[in-house]
C-alpha cells in the first residue's frame, strides 16, 4: 500500500467570473522512502495540488478526488481535528519563502517547541532537548545560541534550515518541500538540497519536491510528475524522463534549457504563453503551443492511455522505444481513435 495515494484530484476556485479549475485530474502515488518531484511552470497547479493534500487551501477552494489517502486513511473522510493530527506530524511541508514562513515575533526555539508540544508532547526540558537536537541535525552551528534567535537574526539559508527542523520535528513519514531553494543562492541551495536528501535517507521518509528547476529535478528526484496548466501531463522515472520525454511539452521544455541547446545559434523556444483562466483553448490545453498539434488535438481533450506507464496526457505521445509502444495513433492519422476517451477512471499503472 502506497503511503500517499491520490487519484483524480481536482481543485476549483470560486472566482468572480465563475469556477476556475486550478488543478484537474492529478494522480500521485508515493511509496515509503521515495523521492518524487513535481515540476512545472508558474500556474501549473503544482503547489495547489500539494496544498490540497495538506488541507491548507482557503474555503474558496473546492477539492474533489476519487481517492485521497495517506497511509490507508481517507483524508477526505477525516474530521478537521483528526486531520490536524496528521498534518504537521506525519505529513509536513516547507515553503518557498523561509523568511516569511517564520513568525517574526517568536524565537526559533518557541516555534519549534510549538510543533513538538502539539504533536509529541513531553516535558518542557525534553522538548527543549529535542529542539536542540533538531537544530544540530539540520546543520545549524551553535544550536544553544541560535535557539534563542529571532527570525530576522538569521540568513535565508539558516531560516530554511529552521523550517526544515520544524518540519521534521515529529518524524514525518512524508515531507513536501514547495520550492525550498528558489529564494536562495546556488551555493546555499546545494547545501539545503543535500540536507533534505540526507534527512530523507537517514529517516526513510518520503519526499515530494515541488520545483520549476529542471537541474534540481535531475539531481534530486527519482520519479517526476510534469504539470502544465493544472493538468498532469506525464509521470516518469527521472532518467527516462530526461532521455525520452513522452509529452511534447516536456520535450519542448527540456530543449529550451540553455545547457541542452548545444551549439545552436538560438535557443529552441515554446511559442506563446501558459493559458490563464480566461484563455483556455478547447481540446488539449497545450495545443496552441505544440509543434505536433493536429485538428484532433484542437477539438478533443486527451486522456492518458491506460496501458501507458507514463500516463501521458497526449493524443500522440512521443514514440520512444524505452517506454514500450505508444497507442497506435500517429499524427498523419488523426482519427485513428483516442484509445482511452471512454475510460474515466484511469487505472494506475506504476512504472
Amino acid at each position: 500500500m502506497a503511503l500517499l495515494d491520490i487519484e483524480g484530484l481536482s481543485v476549483r476556485f470560486k472566482t468572480s467570473s465563475g469556477l476556475f479549475a486550478a488543478v484537474e485530474n492529478v494522480d500521485i502515488n508515493v511509496d515509503r522512502g521515495e523521492v518524487w518531484s513535481i515540476v512545472g511552470e508558474s500556474g501549473s497547479g503544482k503547489s495547489v495540488s500539494m496544498l490540497a493534500t495538506m488541507g491548507l487551501l482557503p474555503w474558496t477552494a473546492q477539492v474533489t478526488a476519487d481517492k485521497m489517502a495517506f497511509d490507508g486513511q481517507d483524508l477526505q473522510q477525516l474530521s478537521s481535528r483528526q486531520r490536524r493530527r496528521i498534518v504537521g506530524g506525519e505529513m509536513s511541508m516547507i515553503f518557498q519563502e523561509p523568511m516569511s514562513s517564520l513568525n517574526p515575533c517568536f524565537t526559533v526555539g518557541t516555534q519549534i517547541d510549538e510543533m513538538i508540544k502539539q504533536h509529541l508532547g513531553g516535558s518542557r526540558k525534553e522538548r527543549h532537548e529535542r529542539a536542540l537536537d533538531l537544530l544540530a541535525q539540520v546543520g545549524i552551528p551553535d544550536p544553544a545560541r541560535r535557539i534563542k534567535a529571532y527570525p530576522h537574526q538569521l540568513s535565508g539559508g539558516m531560516s530554511q534550515r529552521v523550517m526544515i527542523a520544524m518540519a521534521i520535528s515529529c518524524n514525518p513519514r512524508l515531507l513536501i518541500a514547495d520550492e525550498p531553494t528558489t529564494a536562495l543562492d546556488v551555493t546555499i541551495q546545494a547545501q539545503i538540497l543535500e540536507l533534505l536528501l540526507k534527512l530523507q535517507e537517514d529517516t526513510g521518509m518520503a519526499l515530494i519536491l515541488i520545483t520549476h528547476d529542471m537541474g534540481v529535478v535531475a539531481e534530486t528526484a527519482k520519479h517526476v510528475v510534469v504539470q502544465y496548466a493544472g493538468r498532469q501531463v506525464e509521470k516518469q522515472d527521472v532518467k527516462s524522463l530526461f532521455a525520452h520525454p513522452r509529452h511534447p511539452y516536456t520535450e519542448a521544455l527540456l530543449s529550451a534549457l540553455p545547457e541542452r541547446a548545444g551549439d545552436q545559434d538560438r535557443l529552441p523556444t515554446i511559442p506563446g504563453v501558459v493559458p490563464g483562466q480566461h484563455d483556455r483553448p478547447s481540446g488539449c490545453l497545450f495545443n496552441p503551443r505544440c509543434q505536433y498539434a493536429t485538428e484532433h488535438c484542437r477539438e478533443v481533450e486527451p486522456v492518458a492511455a491506460p496501458d501507458d506507464p507514463a500516463s501521458t496526457l497526449c493524443h500522440y505521445p512521443l514514440d520512444h522505444p524505452a517506454v514500450g509502444t505508444p497507442p497506435s495513433a500517429t499524427p498523419q492519422d488523426p482519427l485513428a481513435s483516442n484509445p482511452s476517451s471512454h475510460n474515466p477512471s484511469r487505472p494506475e499503472v506504476r512504472p
Partner: protein, 334 residues
C-alpha cells in the same frame, strides 16, 4: 583584433557609509571593490555571483545612477565625473540603459506602452513631432516581437515575458550603445526565458549592442557571455573569456559556484566542491581574503593578505594565492 572599447572601467570602487545608531560607530560597506574591465560593441560581459556580491552596485555605477567612490569609468571615450551629486551629461546617460529583473515593478501601471516608449524621445529628442515619436514607438514594438495593437494597452494586460519585451523596447528607444541587464530573465518561466534570450541575441546583432549581463544563472551565462566576471563579496575574483572560465575555473569560489549549480542531466552525478557556511557580513569583513573562511584551500597566509587580481595567462585573471593548487585539484576532480 583592434577594437575600441565602448566602456572601460579601471579600479571601479563604490563604498557606502552606514550612519549607525547612537550606540554604534559609523561603518563603511565596501559594496564594490576595484573592478577593472572593458566592454566592446556586440559583446556580452556577464557578471556572476551570489546575492550581496556587488553585482547590482556595479549596475548602478555603470548606469551612472551613482558615482563611483574611486576609479575611472569611461563611456564612449568620455570620462565620467566622480563628483557626488553631480549629474553626468545627458549625452552620456543616453548611451547606457538598464533593464531590471522584475518586469512587474519596473513599468508604470498608469501609462500605456506607447506613452512609456515615447517618453524618452519627448525628453531627449525635442525636435521630433508627435507623429514621428508614435512611428518610432510602433517600429520598436514590432522589433521586440509585440503587435501594433499592444501600443495602447497598459502593463497589467501583459504577461511577464511580454512586459520584459516592453522594458527592452523602452531601453532601446534612444539607441544606446550599452545595455545593462540586471537579472533580466530570472523572474520568467523557462519557456519564456528562452524567448527573451533569443530576442536579446537578435537585438544585439542588429544594433551592435554591448551587454553587461548580470545573472546568477550559470547555464544562461555560459550560453550568451563572451567574457565573464565572477564576483564575491564586492570583489572580482576571476575574470576572463567565458569559454575558458567555464571549462577551467581557477578560483576556488568559481569552482564551488559551478559545482553547486544543478545540471539538468540525471546521469551526471558530480563530486561537489563543498562550500561550508555563508558569505560574511559586509559590516564585519574577515581579515585577508574574504573567501578564506569558506575556502577548503585556505591557509594562514590567506587570512593575512587580500590577494589582488593577477593574470594567470593573457586573458584570465584570478585573485587567489593558491591558484595553481586550486586549478590542479579541479583538473583531477573534474
Amino acid at each position: 583584433m583592434s577594437r575600441d572599447a565602448v566602456l572601460s572601467a579601471v579600479n571601479l570602487t563604490r563604498h557606502y557609509q552606514i550612519k549607525g545608531s547612537p550606540f554604534s560607530k559609523p561603518a563603511t560597506v565596501k559594496a564594490l571593490n576595484e573592478a577593472t574591465f572593458e566592454l566592446y560593441p556586440g559583446q556580452t560581459l556577464a557578471v556572476v555571483g551570489e546575492s550581496g556580491c556587488g553585482k547590482s552596485t556595479l549596475a548602478r555605477v555603470l548606469t551612472m545612477i551613482e558615482p563611483p567612490t574611486s576609479g575611472q569609468l569611461t563611456i564612449s571615450g568620455h570620462q565620467v565625473s566622480l563628483k557626488e551629486g553631480q549629474r553626468p551629461p545627458a549625452a552620456l546617460r543616453r548611451e547606457v540603459q538598464i533593464i531590471f529583473q522584475n518586469p512587474y515593478g519596473s513599468l508604470n501601471p498608469r501609462k500605456t506602452v506607447a506613452t512609456m516608449l515615447e517618453e524618452p524621445l519627448k525628453l531627449n529628442r525635442k525636435e521630433m513631432s508627435a507623429a514621428e515619436r508614435r512611428q518610432a514607438a510602433l517600429e520598436m514594438i514590432a522589433k521586440v516581437g509585440l503587435r501594433p495593437e499592444h501600443a495602447d494597452r497598459y502593463p497589467h494586460m501583459f504577461s511577464g515575458g511580454q512586459r520584459q519585451r516592453i522594458a527592452i523596447a523602452r531601453a532601446l528607444m534612444l539607441n544606446p550603445k550599452i545595455l545593462v541587464l540586471d537579472e533580466p530573465v530570472s523572474a520568467l518561466d523557462l519557456s519564456i526565458q528562452a524567448q527573451v534570450l533569443n530576442l536579446l541575441a537578435d537585438l544585439q546583432e542588429e544594433f551592435g549592442l554591448a551587454y553587461v549581463f548580470i545573472s546568477h544563472d550559470l547555464s544562461v551565462v555560459r550560453r550568451i557571455a563572451d567574457d565573464v566576471i565572477v564576483m564575491y563579496f564586492g570583489q572580482p575574483v576571476e575574470t576572463g573569456p567565458a569559454e575558458e572560465v567555464f571549462t577551467t575555473p581557477r578560483h576556488p569560489y568559481t569552482q564551488a559556484l559551478f559545482s553547486a549549480t544543478p545540471v539538468a542531466d540525471p546521469n551526471r552525478r558530480r563530486e561537489r566542491v563543498h562550500l561550508k557556511g555563508e558569505p560574511p557580513s559586509p559590516l564585519a569583513p574577515p581579515p585577508g581574503c574574504p573567501f578564506a573562511p569558506r575556502c577548503h584551500l585556505a591557509t594562514k597566509e590567506c587570512t593575512r593578505l587580500d590577494p589582488p587580481l593577477e593574470h594567470v595567462n593573457e586573458r584570465v585573471a584570478v585573485a587567489c594565492i593558491h591558484v595553481d593548487q586550486a586549478a590542479a585539484r579541479y583538473a583531477v576532480a573534474g
